[in-house]
């Protein structure tokens, strides 16, 4: 069971090899990729920031929970930080188990918990040059100028 934060490109094949276990008859992995849009906005890149020490601590806790809940042989997860381009792997989760059910369930549990609990933040960079932190409140946009102009039209 290992959780890691990485500033380097994630290589799923190398990571998958770590899940090898003689008693395992199933291996399930999940990759989260950087896509070119979100909420209808064209996205050009994603920037991830973390508090590495606490993210690793909480990440290890999530992996331990998955192993306690499901009959898993081995589980691992790596999360990227830094500026990522479209198509890059931002997070990788893998679990091996005797049977597929436990491997699927563990994988799903790990990615869901990691998204909610770890101190990791994501900034979207948009095609128009703007950027925004995902899930964070932003100041209300000022009323569009055309509305006030319309109100003043005789």
């Amino acid at each position: 069971m290992t959780f890691a934060i990485s500033a380097e490109v994630i290589d799923p094949e190398t990571l998958k090899a770590r899940l090898a276990a003689a008693r395992a008859g199933a291996c399930v992995s999940f990759e989260g990729w950087v896509r070119d849009h979100n909420d209808g906005e064209p996205v050009t890149a994603l920037e991830y920031e973390t508090h590495a020490e606490l993210a690793v601590k909480e990440g290890e806790k999530v992996l331990a929970e998955a192993c306690a809940r499901f009959d898993v042989a081995l589980a691992a997860c790596v999360h990227r930080v830094g500026l990522l381009k479209i198509g890059e792997c931002a997070v990788w989760v893998g679990a091996s188990a005797e049977h597929r059910g436990a491997a699927f369930d563990a994988c799903r549990y790990i990615i869901d918990e990691i998204k909610q609990r770890l101190p990791i933040w994501k900034k979207e960079h948009y095609a128009n040059g703007a950027s925004a932190w995902v899930n964070c409140a932003t100041p209300a946009a000022p009323a569009p100028a055309r509305l006030s102009a319309a109100n003043q039209t005789p």
Partner: protein, 80 residues
Amino acid sequence: MVEVTAQYFAAFRERAGCERERLATRSSTAQELYAELADRHGFLDAAARCKVAINGEMARWDTRLASGDTVLFFPPVAGG
């Protein structure tokens, strides 16, 4: 009054314009300090959607502050 160090991450760091600051406060809990700093720096997220860590450990919002504490303010997370 207690003297603490506040540390900011991601959206909070950008809004505050600094990574950390030392301050003297009358706030007695992490949540009160968050309210005070949210007011000062314009943090718009409800505490319930954010997280706090004190001296390197995740903490509850009702944790009482002591002089010398380092309080880490985490805006809403978005891993994956």
